[in-house]
């Protein structure tokens, strides 16, 4: 709760995972920190909610696979109650005929996969992880500015440059070539099997406004594989849903001395000409502090909280041009019992299930989005967490969580009249793989990107707070001039997924922002 007698050094706007991580580091460094969260629970996109009586689900992100181990250990998340119900899951690319492809860390089973593909898969993984490892060197520190020649930045750049050199001639030229092409071509170069190519493609673009043939998808894939560098050999299921991550982070923050108030929406970041002075809450309360750190995405921060009229045109222009329109919807289904997926055992149903038969299937699904339509045959990433964590549903019952790729944020004609059609269409599509699914459904909920925006206060419903693409990373994330967490408004910092290195439940944006603020000391 807000302590009215306390003179806060820092107010963190938003109790998302990055906000909590940032707040905790700052509190540990001796700052008096207040976190204000609009929702009733903490964690932001790392959330659990009850969508039907006694049925709960991870309502935004549903796998944990990128949490940075340094952050997890600094926060003491295990001690604060974070528990994994399952980890290192395989991905199973579903085939309608039941001849599925099971993708492990370095193994491929089923779907008539050839030995050539198996060998190529091992080599491909090795190379990709080499690249991700190289990138990871720049992830846990601020993005280096290119021109100012600051020593810290030079070291980061030198590490990246040296790292590239150390890759060796073949890998270095491969990285430079691959980074700028698209995952479709890379898949065609490496593999035969359609399910494999499609499953990897889907990983490269989940959550983004891209198809397999879009540039930047290779970077998207390397970004996703950062999880492997952080010790995940496949996705994990969090006990209690992803909201438990938020809860544990909240506990860590409180233990570090952070004051937290939930259901406390900030309506305005107060700025006195060019210095942030505090915030005004939706209920009219004003809280002052020497510094405000926004965990809201950059567009929400400047459009709504600061106001574009209170910053200079150049900055307003850069905020406006950030690309962040989400294309991913969430479907939540309450199930009376487990459905039967053709050719899957119960244990296999607990893995990560993917519906994306071919790369062209995904590309066609993306086409719809380009023109403001939802895909009639969307690609999907399915989790049935109750197989590992029965606590999310009543005894013997289950929940299914589905990321549905290619539902545009702005649907032609608006979402209201189309939502049910889209939901039924998705369920029909899953039923192609699990024929008795519909008999098991007790309740269901579809969250379009517009709903995700409303519920999680993310502009465009884009879970990365801005497309992860080469034009929006490093010193260009969220935009030049704000890439080292500070902004043109003195005393206003950013710490959301919209900043370097980017989205996913990773915690590094919050970590890096805190380090930068601490480093700047009084001048921040």
């Amino acid at each position: 709760m807000i302590n009215v007698d306390k003179k806060y050094d820092v107010i963190v706007v938003g109790g998302g995972h990055n906000g909590l991580v940032c707040a905790t580091y700052l509190a540990k460094a001796g700052r008096k920190v207040l976190v204000l969260e609009a929702n009733a629970t903490l964690g932001g996109g790392s959330a659990t909610s009850e969508f039907s009586d006694q049925f709960s689900v991870s309502s935004c992100a549903h796998w944990l696979f990128q949490l940075n181990p340094e952050v997890a250990s600094d926060m003491g998340l295990k001690g604060h109650g974070l528990e994994l119900a399952a980890r290192d899951l395989n991905t199973i690319a579903l085939a309608e005929d039941g001849n599925h492809l099971t993708i492990g860390v370095n193994t491929l089973e089923g779907a008539g996969v050839t030995d050539e593909d198996r060998k190529a898969f091992v080599a491909f993984n090795k190379q990709m992880l080499k690249f991700s490892k190289l990138l990871s060197g720049a992830f846990n520190r601020r993005a280096p500015k290119l021109v100012e020649g600051n020593l810290t930045d030079r070291i980061t750049l030198a590490k990246l440059g040296l790292g590239m050199k150390m890759l060796g001639k073949t890998d270095m030229s491969d990285l430079m070539r691959l980074a700028l092409i698209n995952i479709y071509d890379v898949m065609e170069e490496n593999f035969e099997n359609d399910l494999l190519k499609a499953a990897i493609s889907l990983d490269s673009l989940l959550g983004s406004h891209m198809g397999p043939r879009s540039p930047n998808t290779v970077y998207g894939y390397l970004y996703r594989r950062m999880g492997d560098i952080y010790g995940f050999n496949g996705p994990a299921v969090v006990r209690g849903g992803m909201g438990a991550v938020g809860e544990a982070l909240g506990n860590a923050a409180k233990a570090a001395g952070v004051d937290i108030e939930v259901s406390a929406a900030v309506s305005k970041i107060n700025v006195d000409v060019d210095r942030a002075t505090g915030v005004t809450l939706a209920d009219g309360r004003v809280v002052n502090a020497g510094m405000v750190v926004s965990n809201a995405d950059p567009k929400t921060t400047f459009n709504k909280l600061v106001g574009l009229t209170n910053i200079e045109t150049g900055v307003a222009r850069r905020v406006k041009t950030i690309r962040m329109k989400g294309d991913a919807a969430k479907l939540h289904i309450a199930l009376d019992s487990l459905p039967d997926f053709t050719g899957l055992t119960k244990d296999q149903m607990g893995q990560r299930l993917v519906i994306a038969p071919t790369m062209d299937y995904i590309e066609l699904a993306f086409n719809a989005c380009k023109y403001g339509e939802y895909s009639k045959a969307p690609a999907m990433d399915i989790s049935i967490p109750t197989i590992h964590d029965p606590s999310l549903a009543p005894d013997g019952k289950h929940v299914m969580s589905v990321i549905v790729q290619f539902a545009p944020y702005e649907l032609e004609g608006g979402w209201e009249s189309h939502k049910d059609n889209f939901k039924n269409l998705i369920i029909d599509r899953i039923a192609d793989y699990a024929p008795n699914l519909k008999d098991k459904i007790i309740a269901s909920e579809l969250l379009t990107p517009a709903d995700l925006e409303d519920r999680f206060h993310i502009h465009g419903g884009h879970w990365h707070h801005g497309e992860i693409s080469l034009d929006q990373i490093l010193t260009m994330r969220p935009f030049p001039g704000a890439s080292q967490y500070g902004t043109s408004v003195d005393g206003l910092f950013l710490c959301s997924a919209g900043t370097h290195p980017g989205g996913g439940v990773m915690g590094l944006a919050g970590h890096n922002a805190a380090k930068e603020i601490i480093k700047r000391g009084k001048s921040a």
Partner: protein
């Protein structure tokens, strides 16, 4: 098919009259408009403004209109001056900057009515204006082609307007706006200009442009009214210390090479920057510059001799410290004036410098190293420019 006598060039609403008066066919391109450099003889046109009245067709000037409840707040964020201090029917000269505090352009803002402004600019900048409008309730219209405008400048200009029946024009203060009936419609007159003399600018709907020109020249014929071109205007503005965008500075958006743009302080326009107002473009960078110092100073030089120091290098001792941007022998002030950008520390009034001037006479080039002194400002600054009521000549 385009008829053989048509060109891409636009014509101002006064073109029929300008063309008829332009005896020597000396045309140039002013932002896409056919515009005369001179009508007859540059010196005669210059002296028309200093002794009688000169008329310059300023219709090509880029004009934007801002209306809506946030128009004032919008402009206050856009430009460096405090717009809230400009009353209705007043005009203010200002510059506007990018986020780096570099001057994008200079121009005048006309406060026409409550929530209604006009901006006159050197360069088209609708793109920047629209970006700047994000979050403001303001409507922006490019009205360059919708308004005909003339600069009517010189000691007899007020008398000519009185002759035309514009009652009370003599009481219009510098930078004031007044409206008068004309041909069943209205002409707006502002006491503004680019010559440093008593003078006015008139703003009228294009359909009445020719009629206005005719009435003006009829009323002025006994006072030696004369149309003038850009060459004479250039002498006039140099004599009176007015800088010209694109000549004395590179607009920030047009500068390709880093370091070629200038801040208001570096153009001697620090007086246009108001830090006592809400956020404006360039504020942060300009505050920093004010604290840490500027790179350059913009200076007026009194140059020895009578050779205009055009494009001259400027030295302090043997060290090259800057270059001349504009220069002219000023016939009325009888002074050889140059504007120069020099390293900041050579910008103080009284600083002695040397201009390296090259000039050509019958294919023979000569170099002079002319002594020059940094002076306060305009060498021509007559009382009649400010007097209200305006004097009769």
């Amino acid at each position: 098919m385009i008829p053989h006598d048509e060109t891409m060039m636009l014509k101002t609403p006064f073109h029929s009259r300008v063309e008829a008066a332009c005896e020597i066919n000396m045309w140039e391109d002013w932002k896409g408009y056919t515009s005369p450099q001179a009508y007859t003889e540059v010196e005669q046109e210059y002296f028309a403004v200093r002794s009688n009245t000169g008329v310059f067709d300023i219709s090509p000037m880029i004009k934007y209109r801002f209306t809506g409840p946030d128009a004032g707040a919008y402009l206050n964020r856009l430009v460096t001056r405090d717009i809230s201090k400009i009353g209705i029917d007043r005009v203010a000269y200002t510059v506007w900057c990018d986020d780096n505090g570099q001057v994008m352009d200079d121009g005048t803002i006309f406060h026409l009515a409550e929530n209604d402004y006009r901006l006159c600019a050197y360069a088209r900048c609708l793109d920047w204006l629209m970006w700047s409008a994000e979050g403001f309730d303001v409507t922006i219209v490019d009205e360059t082609a919708d308004i005909a405008a003339l600069a009517v400048q010189g000691p007899t200009s007020c008398a000519i307007f009185k002759e035309m029946g514009f009652k009370g024009i003599e009481n219009l203060k510098p930078f004031g706006i007044a409206r008068f009936p004309f041909e069943g419609s209205e002409v707006m007159i502002s006491r503004t200009g680019f010559t440093g003399d008593l003078g006015y600018e008139i703003w009228i709907e294009p359909a009445l442009a020719e009629a206005f020109w005719d009435a003006l020249f009829e009323a002025g014929k006994h006072r030696e009214i004369r149309p003038i071109g850009s060459a004479a205007l250039d002498m006039l503005r140099t004599e009176t210390g007015f800088i010209q965008a694109g000549v004395d500075f590179v607009p920030a958006e047009e500068a390709i090479r880093t370091g070629r743009s200038r801040s208001p302080f570096e153009l001697g326009l620090g007086w246009l920057v108001s830090f006592d107002k809400p956020v404006f473009n360039g504020r942060k960078a300009l505050l920093k510059e004010k604290k840490e110092g500027s790179r350059y100073a913009f200076v007026y030089l009194d140059v020895d001799g009578n050779k205009p120091a055009e494009h001259a290098f400027v030295y302090s001792g043997n060290k090259e410290v800057g270059t001349v941007t504009s220069a002219a022998w000023c016939p009325t002030a009888k002074t050889n004036v140059a504007f120069a950008q020099v390293d900041a520390k050579y910008g103080k009034v009284g600083q002695e410098l040397v201009a390296e001037i090259y000039y050509e006479r019958e294919l023979k080039w000569t170099r002079v190293m002319a002594k020059c002194t940094v002076i306060e400002g305009a060498v021509f600054n007559p009382p009649r420019k400010r007097q209200t009521p305006a004097p009769d000549f």
